[in-house]
Subunit: 248 residues, 2 copies
Protein backbone atom coordinates (compact mmCIF):
# COMPACT_ATOMS: atom_id res chain seq x y z
CA UNK A 1 0.00 0.00 0.00
CA UNK A 2 1.55 3.23 -1.17
CA UNK A 3 0.17 6.54 0.13
CA UNK A 4 0.29 9.22 -2.54
CA UNK A 5 -1.55 12.23 -1.10
CA UNK A 6 -2.93 13.45 2.19
CA UNK A 7 -5.34 16.32 2.87
CA UNK A 8 -7.32 17.30 5.95
CA UNK A 9 -10.62 19.17 6.00
CA UNK A 10 -13.32 19.53 8.68
CA UNK A 11 -11.33 17.32 11.04
CA UNK A 12 -11.15 14.44 8.54
CA UNK A 13 -7.89 13.31 6.96
CA UNK A 14 -8.19 11.78 3.50
CA UNK A 15 -5.27 9.68 2.28
CA UNK A 16 -5.13 8.51 -1.33
CA UNK A 17 -3.29 5.26 -1.93
CA UNK A 18 -2.57 2.60 -4.50
CA UNK A 19 -2.42 -1.07 -3.74
CA UNK A 20 -0.91 -2.80 -6.76
CA UNK A 21 -2.96 -1.37 -9.64
CA UNK A 22 -5.90 -0.42 -7.47
CA UNK A 23 -6.39 3.23 -6.47
CA UNK A 24 -8.07 3.83 -3.13
CA UNK A 25 -8.79 6.37 -0.43
CA UNK A 26 -9.00 6.10 3.33
CA UNK A 27 -10.54 8.63 5.70
CA UNK A 28 -10.04 8.91 9.46
CA UNK A 29 -10.31 11.52 12.18
CA UNK A 30 -7.40 13.97 11.85
CA UNK A 31 -4.46 13.03 14.08
CA UNK A 32 -6.18 9.79 15.09
CA UNK A 33 -4.01 7.19 16.73
CA UNK A 34 -5.72 4.19 18.35
CA UNK A 35 -7.48 1.29 16.65
CA UNK A 36 -10.97 1.95 15.32
CA UNK A 37 -13.68 0.14 13.32
CA UNK A 38 -13.24 0.17 9.55
CA UNK A 39 -16.09 0.68 7.09
CA UNK A 40 -15.51 -0.17 3.42
CA UNK A 41 -17.49 1.77 0.80
CA UNK A 42 -18.26 0.05 -2.51
CA UNK A 43 -19.27 2.71 -5.04
CA UNK A 44 -22.05 2.28 -7.60
CA UNK A 45 -21.74 1.93 -11.36
CA UNK A 46 -20.53 5.21 -12.84
CA UNK A 47 -19.06 6.22 -9.47
CA UNK A 48 -15.54 5.93 -8.11
CA UNK A 49 -13.59 5.96 -4.85
CA UNK A 50 -13.84 9.71 -4.36
CA UNK A 51 -17.19 10.45 -6.00
CA UNK A 52 -18.93 13.26 -4.07
CA UNK A 53 -21.51 10.93 -2.48
CA UNK A 54 -18.75 8.57 -1.35
CA UNK A 55 -16.67 11.37 0.16
CA UNK A 56 -19.73 12.84 1.90
CA UNK A 57 -20.64 9.45 3.38
CA UNK A 58 -17.05 8.86 4.49
CA UNK A 59 -16.94 12.25 6.25
CA UNK A 60 -20.26 11.50 7.92
CA UNK A 61 -19.10 8.13 9.29
CA UNK A 62 -15.75 9.56 10.42
CA UNK A 63 -17.13 12.62 12.18
CA UNK A 64 -20.30 10.98 13.48
CA UNK A 65 -18.91 7.66 14.70
CA UNK A 66 -15.13 7.90 14.60
CA UNK A 67 -14.79 5.09 12.08
CA UNK A 68 -11.99 4.73 9.58
CA UNK A 69 -13.57 4.54 6.10
CA UNK A 70 -12.05 3.28 2.87
CA UNK A 71 -13.04 3.05 -0.78
CA UNK A 72 -11.34 1.58 -3.84
CA UNK A 73 -12.16 1.96 -7.52
CA UNK A 74 -14.02 -1.07 -8.86
CA UNK A 75 -12.50 -2.74 -11.92
CA UNK A 76 -13.40 -0.56 -14.91
CA UNK A 77 -14.42 2.53 -12.95
CA UNK A 78 -12.64 5.61 -11.62
CA UNK A 79 -9.00 5.54 -12.64
CA UNK A 80 -9.10 1.94 -13.92
CA UNK A 81 -9.29 0.52 -17.44
CA UNK A 82 -12.37 -1.44 -18.47
CA UNK A 83 -11.58 -5.17 -18.14
CA UNK A 84 -11.78 -6.99 -21.44
CA UNK A 85 -14.16 -9.46 -19.75
CA UNK A 86 -16.84 -6.71 -19.56
CA UNK A 87 -17.06 -6.16 -23.30
CA UNK A 88 -19.97 -8.46 -24.22
CA UNK A 89 -22.00 -7.20 -21.24
CA UNK A 90 -21.29 -3.56 -21.96
CA UNK A 91 -22.55 -3.97 -25.52
CA UNK A 92 -25.74 -5.57 -24.17
CA UNK A 93 -26.18 -2.85 -21.54
CA UNK A 94 -25.83 -0.14 -24.18
CA UNK A 95 -28.45 -1.83 -26.32
CA UNK A 96 -30.90 -2.22 -23.40
CA UNK A 97 -30.35 1.38 -22.36
CA UNK A 98 -31.01 2.59 -25.89
CA UNK A 99 -34.21 0.49 -25.94
CA UNK A 100 -35.27 1.87 -22.53
CA UNK A 101 -35.39 -1.63 -21.03
CA UNK A 102 -34.43 -2.70 -17.48
CA UNK A 103 -30.76 -3.60 -17.22
CA UNK A 104 -31.22 -5.95 -14.29
CA UNK A 105 -29.98 -9.11 -15.83
CA UNK A 106 -27.08 -7.89 -17.98
CA UNK A 107 -26.00 -5.61 -15.16
CA UNK A 108 -26.07 -8.57 -12.75
CA UNK A 109 -24.12 -10.91 -15.02
CA UNK A 110 -21.43 -8.29 -15.55
CA UNK A 111 -21.39 -7.89 -11.78
CA UNK A 112 -20.39 -11.53 -11.33
CA UNK A 113 -17.36 -10.99 -13.54
CA UNK A 114 -16.51 -7.77 -11.71
CA UNK A 115 -16.83 -9.51 -8.33
CA UNK A 116 -14.35 -12.19 -9.30
CA UNK A 117 -11.76 -9.46 -9.92
CA UNK A 118 -12.74 -7.20 -7.01
CA UNK A 119 -12.99 -9.66 -4.11
CA UNK A 120 -9.24 -10.36 -3.83
CA UNK A 121 -8.62 -6.62 -4.24
CA UNK A 122 -10.90 -5.81 -1.30
CA UNK A 123 -9.30 -8.57 0.75
CA UNK A 124 -5.83 -7.19 0.07
CA UNK A 125 -7.14 -3.74 1.01
CA UNK A 126 -8.42 -5.07 4.35
CA UNK A 127 -5.06 -6.78 4.93
CA UNK A 128 -3.16 -3.55 4.30
CA UNK A 129 -5.50 -1.21 6.19
CA UNK A 130 -5.73 -3.37 9.30
CA UNK A 131 -1.93 -3.37 9.34
CA UNK A 132 -1.96 0.40 9.99
CA UNK A 133 -1.71 1.23 13.69
CA UNK A 134 -4.48 3.87 13.49
CA UNK A 135 -6.93 1.19 12.27
CA UNK A 136 -5.54 -1.98 13.81
CA UNK A 137 -5.92 -5.70 13.24
CA UNK A 138 -8.77 -7.83 14.53
CA UNK A 139 -11.23 -4.97 14.87
CA UNK A 140 -14.73 -4.89 13.41
CA UNK A 141 -15.11 -4.27 9.67
CA UNK A 142 -18.30 -3.13 7.95
CA UNK A 143 -19.15 -2.99 4.25
CA UNK A 144 -21.53 -0.54 2.56
CA UNK A 145 -22.31 -0.86 -1.14
CA UNK A 146 -25.45 -0.48 -3.24
CA UNK A 147 -26.11 -1.42 -6.87
CA UNK A 148 -22.67 -2.28 -8.32
CA UNK A 149 -21.46 -2.02 -4.72
CA UNK A 150 -23.75 -4.95 -3.93
CA UNK A 151 -23.00 -6.91 -7.08
CA UNK A 152 -19.47 -7.00 -5.67
CA UNK A 153 -20.49 -6.74 -2.04
CA UNK A 154 -22.84 -9.71 -1.71
CA UNK A 155 -20.16 -12.24 -2.77
CA UNK A 156 -17.49 -10.30 -0.84
CA UNK A 157 -19.45 -10.32 2.42
CA UNK A 158 -20.24 -14.01 1.89
CA UNK A 159 -16.54 -14.82 1.34
CA UNK A 160 -14.79 -12.57 3.86
CA UNK A 161 -15.16 -13.49 7.54
CA UNK A 162 -13.60 -10.23 8.76
CA UNK A 163 -16.69 -8.30 7.61
CA UNK A 164 -19.16 -8.36 10.49
CA UNK A 165 -22.01 -6.12 9.24
CA UNK A 166 -23.11 -4.89 5.82
CA UNK A 167 -25.44 -2.43 4.14
CA UNK A 168 -26.43 -3.84 0.76
CA UNK A 169 -29.18 -3.32 -1.82
CA UNK A 170 -30.34 -1.92 -5.16
CA UNK A 171 -29.56 -5.30 -6.68
CA UNK A 172 -31.57 -8.28 -7.87
CA UNK A 173 -31.71 -11.92 -7.04
CA UNK A 174 -30.79 -13.87 -10.14
CA UNK A 175 -27.01 -14.06 -10.04
CA UNK A 176 -26.55 -13.53 -6.30
CA UNK A 177 -28.89 -15.98 -4.57
CA UNK A 178 -26.22 -18.51 -3.74
CA UNK A 179 -23.79 -15.97 -2.28
CA UNK A 180 -26.60 -14.21 -0.40
CA UNK A 181 -27.57 -17.46 1.31
CA UNK A 182 -24.03 -17.73 2.69
CA UNK A 183 -24.18 -14.33 4.41
CA UNK A 184 -24.72 -14.66 8.15
CA UNK A 185 -23.80 -11.20 9.51
CA UNK A 186 -26.37 -8.45 10.20
CA UNK A 187 -27.52 -6.74 7.00
CA UNK A 188 -29.44 -3.54 6.27
CA UNK A 189 -30.86 -3.93 2.77
CA UNK A 190 -31.84 -0.84 0.76
CA UNK A 191 -34.49 -1.14 -1.95
CA UNK A 192 -36.08 1.50 -4.19
CA UNK A 193 -39.77 0.76 -4.67
CA UNK A 194 -39.89 2.21 -8.21
CA UNK A 195 -36.43 1.08 -9.31
CA UNK A 196 -36.20 1.30 -13.11
CA UNK A 197 -33.05 -0.87 -13.23
CA UNK A 198 -33.72 -3.65 -10.71
CA UNK A 199 -37.26 -5.13 -10.76
CA UNK A 200 -38.93 -4.89 -7.35
CA UNK A 201 -39.64 -8.61 -7.13
CA UNK A 202 -36.02 -9.46 -7.87
CA UNK A 203 -34.72 -7.13 -5.15
CA UNK A 204 -37.27 -8.47 -2.64
CA UNK A 205 -36.12 -11.99 -3.54
CA UNK A 206 -32.48 -11.04 -2.90
CA UNK A 207 -33.41 -9.71 0.55
CA UNK A 208 -35.32 -12.93 1.15
CA UNK A 209 -32.31 -15.03 0.11
CA UNK A 210 -29.87 -13.46 2.59
CA UNK A 211 -29.01 -16.09 5.19
CA UNK A 212 -28.59 -13.71 8.15
CA UNK A 213 -30.84 -14.02 11.20
CA UNK A 214 -30.71 -10.24 11.54
CA UNK A 215 -31.53 -8.44 8.32
CA UNK A 216 -33.73 -5.40 7.75
CA UNK A 217 -35.25 -4.25 4.48
CA UNK A 218 -35.51 -0.47 4.03
CA UNK A 219 -37.68 0.32 1.01
CA UNK A 220 -38.46 3.85 -0.13
CA UNK A 221 -40.44 5.23 -3.07
CA UNK A 222 -38.51 6.46 -6.06
CA UNK A 223 -36.09 5.39 -8.73
CA UNK A 224 -32.73 3.63 -8.54
CA UNK A 225 -30.73 6.75 -7.70
CA UNK A 226 -33.30 8.35 -5.36
CA UNK A 227 -32.37 6.70 -2.04
CA UNK A 228 -33.34 9.34 0.54
CA UNK A 229 -30.67 11.08 2.62
CA UNK A 230 -32.05 9.75 5.90
CA UNK A 231 -30.81 6.30 4.85
CA UNK A 232 -27.27 7.66 5.34
CA UNK A 233 -28.20 8.33 8.98
CA UNK A 234 -29.77 4.94 9.26
CA UNK A 235 -26.72 3.15 7.87
CA UNK A 236 -24.46 5.03 10.28
CA UNK A 237 -26.57 3.94 13.26
CA UNK A 238 -26.60 0.39 11.89
CA UNK A 239 -22.79 0.33 11.78
CA UNK A 240 -22.54 2.03 15.18
CA UNK A 241 -24.79 -0.71 16.60
CA UNK A 242 -22.75 -3.54 15.14
CA UNK A 243 -19.17 -2.27 14.91
CA UNK A 244 -18.70 -0.57 18.24
CA UNK A 245 -18.07 -2.54 21.37
CA UNK A 246 -20.20 -0.45 23.72
CA UNK A 247 -23.83 -0.96 22.79
CA UNK A 248 -26.75 0.85 24.35
Amino acid sequence: MRFIAETTSDGVTERLFTLGDVPGAVWAPAESTGPRPLVLLGHGGGGHKTAPTIVARAHRYVTGSGFAVAAIDAPGWGGRPVPVEYEPFNAEIEELTAAGKPLGDAFARRGLVAAKIAIPEWQATIDALTGLDWIGAGGPVGYWGLSLGSALGVPLVAAEPRISAAVLGLMGYETLAEAAAQITVPVEFVLQWDDEIVPRESALALFDAIGSAEKTLHANPGRHMDVPMFEVDSSERFFARHLTVTRR
Copy 2:
Protein backbone atom coordinates in the same frame (compact mmCIF):
# COMPACT_ATOMS: atom_id res chain seq x y z
CA MET B 1 -60.95 14.56 30.42
CA ARG B 2 -60.77 13.52 34.03
CA PHE B 3 -57.37 12.71 35.56
CA ILE B 4 -57.61 9.84 38.05
CA ALA B 5 -54.04 8.96 39.01
CA GLU B 6 -50.54 10.38 38.70
CA THR B 7 -47.21 8.69 39.32
CA THR B 8 -43.64 9.67 38.47
CA SER B 9 -40.73 7.32 37.84
CA ASP B 10 -37.39 7.78 36.10
CA GLY B 11 -38.24 11.40 35.36
CA VAL B 12 -41.47 10.50 33.56
CA THR B 13 -44.90 11.42 34.90
CA GLU B 14 -47.73 9.06 33.96
CA ARG B 15 -51.26 10.38 34.30
CA LEU B 16 -54.24 8.03 33.93
CA PHE B 17 -57.42 9.61 32.65
CA THR B 18 -60.87 8.87 31.36
CA LEU B 19 -62.50 10.73 28.52
CA GLY B 20 -66.16 9.77 28.50
CA ASP B 21 -66.04 5.97 28.69
CA VAL B 22 -62.50 5.73 27.31
CA PRO B 23 -59.61 5.08 29.70
CA GLY B 24 -56.28 6.53 28.70
CA ALA B 25 -52.79 7.42 29.89
CA VAL B 26 -50.48 10.30 29.09
CA TRP B 27 -46.76 10.48 29.79
CA ALA B 28 -44.54 13.58 29.87
CA PRO B 29 -41.26 14.70 31.37
CA ALA B 30 -41.77 15.26 35.13
CA GLU B 31 -42.56 18.88 35.95
CA SER B 32 -42.73 19.75 32.28
CA THR B 33 -44.33 23.05 31.39
CA GLY B 34 -43.99 24.31 27.82
CA PRO B 35 -45.71 22.97 24.71
CA ARG B 36 -44.23 19.83 23.19
CA PRO B 37 -44.94 17.38 20.35
CA LEU B 38 -47.52 14.69 21.11
CA VAL B 39 -47.18 11.06 20.02
CA LEU B 40 -50.25 8.81 20.18
CA LEU B 41 -49.71 5.07 20.75
CA GLY B 42 -52.30 2.64 19.36
CA HIS B 43 -51.82 -0.71 21.10
CA GLY B 44 -52.12 -4.08 19.33
CA GLY B 45 -54.82 -6.71 19.73
CA GLY B 46 -54.61 -8.23 23.20
CA GLY B 47 -52.78 -5.15 24.47
CA HIS B 48 -54.05 -2.07 26.29
CA LYS B 49 -53.10 1.52 27.12
CA THR B 50 -50.59 0.54 29.81
CA ALA B 51 -49.34 -2.80 28.49
CA PRO B 52 -45.63 -3.15 29.33
CA THR B 53 -44.47 -2.60 25.74
CA ILE B 54 -46.61 0.55 25.50
CA VAL B 55 -45.28 1.96 28.78
CA ALA B 56 -41.69 1.15 27.78
CA ARG B 57 -42.13 2.88 24.41
CA ALA B 58 -43.75 5.90 26.06
CA HIS B 59 -40.86 6.24 28.53
CA ARG B 60 -38.41 5.96 25.68
CA TYR B 61 -40.05 8.72 23.63
CA VAL B 62 -40.41 10.98 26.68
CA THR B 63 -36.86 10.62 27.97
CA GLY B 64 -35.20 10.40 24.55
CA SER B 65 -37.03 13.16 22.71
CA GLY B 66 -39.08 15.10 25.27
CA PHE B 67 -42.38 14.23 23.63
CA ALA B 68 -45.70 13.94 25.41
CA VAL B 69 -47.08 10.45 24.70
CA ALA B 70 -50.63 9.18 25.07
CA ALA B 71 -52.48 5.88 24.72
CA ILE B 72 -56.13 4.92 25.03
CA ASP B 73 -57.76 1.51 25.25
CA ALA B 74 -59.21 0.42 21.92
CA PRO B 75 -62.89 -0.58 21.96
CA GLY B 76 -63.05 -4.08 23.48
CA TRP B 77 -59.55 -4.12 24.96
CA GLY B 78 -58.01 -3.11 28.28
CA GLY B 79 -60.73 -1.86 30.63
CA ARG B 80 -63.44 -1.75 27.95
CA PRO B 81 -66.31 -4.12 27.17
CA VAL B 82 -66.32 -5.98 23.85
CA PRO B 83 -68.59 -4.08 21.44
CA VAL B 84 -71.56 -6.15 20.32
CA GLU B 85 -70.54 -5.36 16.72
CA TYR B 86 -67.41 -7.57 17.14
CA GLU B 87 -69.32 -10.76 17.90
CA PRO B 88 -69.54 -12.33 14.42
CA PHE B 89 -65.87 -11.54 13.76
CA ASN B 90 -64.71 -12.87 17.10
CA ALA B 91 -66.47 -16.17 16.44
CA GLU B 92 -64.75 -16.39 13.04
CA ILE B 93 -61.35 -15.46 14.54
CA GLU B 94 -61.70 -18.18 17.19
CA GLU B 95 -62.51 -20.72 14.49
CA LEU B 96 -59.55 -19.70 12.32
CA THR B 97 -57.23 -19.74 15.32
CA ALA B 98 -58.42 -23.22 16.26
CA ALA B 99 -57.80 -24.33 12.66
CA GLY B 100 -54.33 -22.74 12.65
CA LYS B 101 -55.23 -20.51 9.67
CA PRO B 102 -54.13 -16.92 9.00
CA LEU B 103 -56.53 -14.41 10.56
CA GLY B 104 -55.73 -11.65 8.10
CA ASP B 105 -59.12 -11.15 6.62
CA ALA B 106 -61.41 -11.61 9.65
CA PHE B 107 -58.97 -9.56 11.73
CA ALA B 108 -59.05 -6.82 9.10
CA ARG B 109 -62.85 -6.75 8.79
CA ARG B 110 -63.24 -6.50 12.57
CA GLY B 111 -60.69 -3.70 12.43
CA LEU B 112 -62.95 -1.64 10.19
CA VAL B 113 -65.72 -1.85 12.78
CA ALA B 114 -63.28 -1.01 15.56
CA ALA B 115 -61.96 1.99 13.61
CA LYS B 116 -65.43 3.46 13.20
CA ILE B 117 -65.75 3.53 17.01
CA ALA B 118 -62.15 4.50 17.77
CA ILE B 119 -61.55 7.40 15.36
CA PRO B 120 -63.86 9.89 17.13
CA GLU B 121 -62.40 8.71 20.45
CA TRP B 122 -58.86 9.47 19.28
CA GLN B 123 -59.99 12.82 17.89
CA ALA B 124 -61.60 13.76 21.23
CA THR B 125 -58.38 12.65 22.94
CA ILE B 126 -56.31 14.96 20.71
CA ASP B 127 -58.76 17.80 21.42
CA ALA B 128 -58.43 17.32 25.17
CA LEU B 129 -54.68 16.76 25.28
CA THR B 130 -53.82 19.72 23.09
CA GLY B 131 -55.90 21.83 25.47
CA LEU B 132 -53.40 21.12 28.27
CA ASP B 133 -50.80 23.86 28.62
CA TRP B 134 -47.92 21.35 28.94
CA ILE B 135 -48.78 19.91 25.50
CA GLY B 136 -50.37 22.87 23.74
CA ALA B 137 -52.56 23.42 20.68
CA GLY B 138 -51.33 23.53 17.10
CA GLY B 139 -48.16 21.55 17.73
CA PRO B 140 -47.06 18.48 15.81
CA VAL B 141 -48.84 15.17 16.51
CA GLY B 142 -47.51 11.72 15.60
CA TYR B 143 -49.26 8.36 15.64
CA TRP B 144 -47.63 4.96 16.25
CA GLY B 145 -49.68 1.78 15.97
CA LEU B 146 -49.03 -1.68 14.54
CA SER B 147 -51.43 -4.55 13.87
CA LEU B 148 -54.73 -3.52 15.52
CA GLY B 149 -53.02 -0.16 16.04
CA SER B 150 -52.85 0.14 12.24
CA ALA B 151 -56.31 -1.26 11.60
CA LEU B 152 -57.45 1.80 13.56
CA GLY B 153 -54.49 3.97 12.68
CA VAL B 154 -54.59 3.88 8.88
CA PRO B 155 -58.13 5.32 8.73
CA LEU B 156 -57.36 7.66 11.66
CA VAL B 157 -54.25 9.12 10.02
CA ALA B 158 -56.18 9.46 6.75
CA ALA B 159 -59.02 11.31 8.51
CA GLU B 160 -57.20 13.50 11.03
CA PRO B 161 -55.22 16.44 9.64
CA ARG B 162 -53.53 17.20 12.97
CA ILE B 163 -51.47 13.99 12.66
CA SER B 164 -48.34 14.90 10.72
CA ALA B 165 -46.29 11.67 10.83
CA ALA B 166 -47.12 8.02 11.50
CA VAL B 167 -45.50 4.65 12.15
CA LEU B 168 -47.83 1.94 10.86
CA GLY B 169 -47.64 -1.72 9.86
CA LEU B 170 -48.28 -5.39 10.62
CA MET B 171 -51.53 -5.07 8.67
CA GLY B 172 -52.79 -6.13 5.29
CA TYR B 173 -54.19 -4.40 2.29
CA GLU B 174 -57.70 -5.67 1.74
CA THR B 175 -59.85 -3.44 3.95
CA LEU B 176 -57.49 -0.47 4.17
CA ALA B 177 -56.45 0.36 0.61
CA GLU B 178 -58.81 3.28 0.23
CA ALA B 179 -57.86 4.92 3.53
CA ALA B 180 -54.15 4.26 2.90
CA ALA B 181 -54.34 6.09 -0.42
CA GLN B 182 -55.61 9.19 1.40
CA ILE B 183 -52.58 9.36 3.72
CA THR B 184 -50.15 12.07 2.67
CA VAL B 185 -47.91 12.51 5.75
CA PRO B 186 -44.54 10.76 6.19
CA VAL B 187 -44.94 7.10 7.18
CA GLU B 188 -42.56 4.46 8.53
CA PHE B 189 -44.16 1.10 7.77
CA VAL B 190 -43.16 -1.97 9.79
CA LEU B 191 -43.53 -5.43 8.25
CA GLN B 192 -42.59 -8.87 9.57
CA TRP B 193 -41.24 -11.03 6.77
CA ASP B 194 -42.59 -14.29 8.23
CA ASP B 195 -45.83 -12.89 9.65
CA GLU B 196 -48.20 -15.77 10.43
CA ILE B 197 -51.23 -13.45 10.73
CA VAL B 198 -50.79 -10.99 7.87
CA PRO B 199 -49.67 -12.49 4.53
CA ARG B 200 -46.49 -10.84 3.25
CA GLU B 201 -48.00 -9.87 -0.09
CA SER B 202 -50.94 -8.19 1.60
CA ALA B 203 -48.70 -6.13 3.88
CA LEU B 204 -46.45 -5.14 0.94
CA ALA B 205 -49.59 -4.08 -0.94
CA LEU B 206 -50.69 -1.90 1.98
CA PHE B 207 -47.29 -0.17 2.00
CA ASP B 208 -47.63 0.28 -1.76
CA ALA B 209 -51.11 1.80 -1.36
CA ILE B 210 -50.06 4.55 1.06
CA GLY B 211 -50.38 7.88 -0.73
CA SER B 212 -47.46 9.64 0.98
CA ALA B 213 -44.48 10.85 -1.04
CA GLU B 214 -42.24 9.98 1.93
CA LYS B 215 -42.80 6.47 3.19
CA THR B 216 -40.26 3.85 4.24
CA LEU B 217 -40.81 0.12 4.57
CA HIS B 218 -38.88 -1.58 7.39
CA ALA B 219 -39.11 -5.34 7.03
CA ASN B 220 -37.46 -7.80 9.42
CA PRO B 221 -37.42 -11.59 9.61
CA GLY B 222 -39.69 -13.25 12.14
CA ARG B 223 -43.28 -13.65 13.13
CA HIS B 224 -46.01 -11.08 13.85
CA MET B 225 -44.89 -10.34 17.41
CA ASP B 226 -41.13 -10.45 16.75
CA VAL B 227 -40.48 -6.85 15.65
CA PRO B 228 -36.88 -6.22 16.77
CA MET B 229 -36.13 -3.71 19.51
CA PHE B 230 -34.03 -1.51 17.21
CA GLU B 231 -37.27 -0.54 15.45
CA VAL B 232 -38.18 1.35 18.65
CA ASP B 233 -35.03 3.45 18.13
CA SER B 234 -35.86 3.87 14.50
CA SER B 235 -39.42 5.06 15.21
CA GLU B 236 -38.13 7.56 17.77
CA ARG B 237 -35.72 9.04 15.25
CA PHE B 238 -38.50 9.11 12.65
CA PHE B 239 -40.72 11.13 15.00
CA ALA B 240 -37.81 13.33 16.05
CA ARG B 241 -37.18 14.09 12.37
CA HIS B 242 -40.79 14.98 11.63
CA LEU B 243 -42.22 16.36 14.87
CA THR B 244 -39.48 18.66 16.05
CA VAL B 245 -38.97 22.06 14.54
CA THR B 246 -35.18 22.04 14.54
CA ARG B 247 -33.97 19.51 12.03
CA ARG B 248 -30.37 18.57 11.42
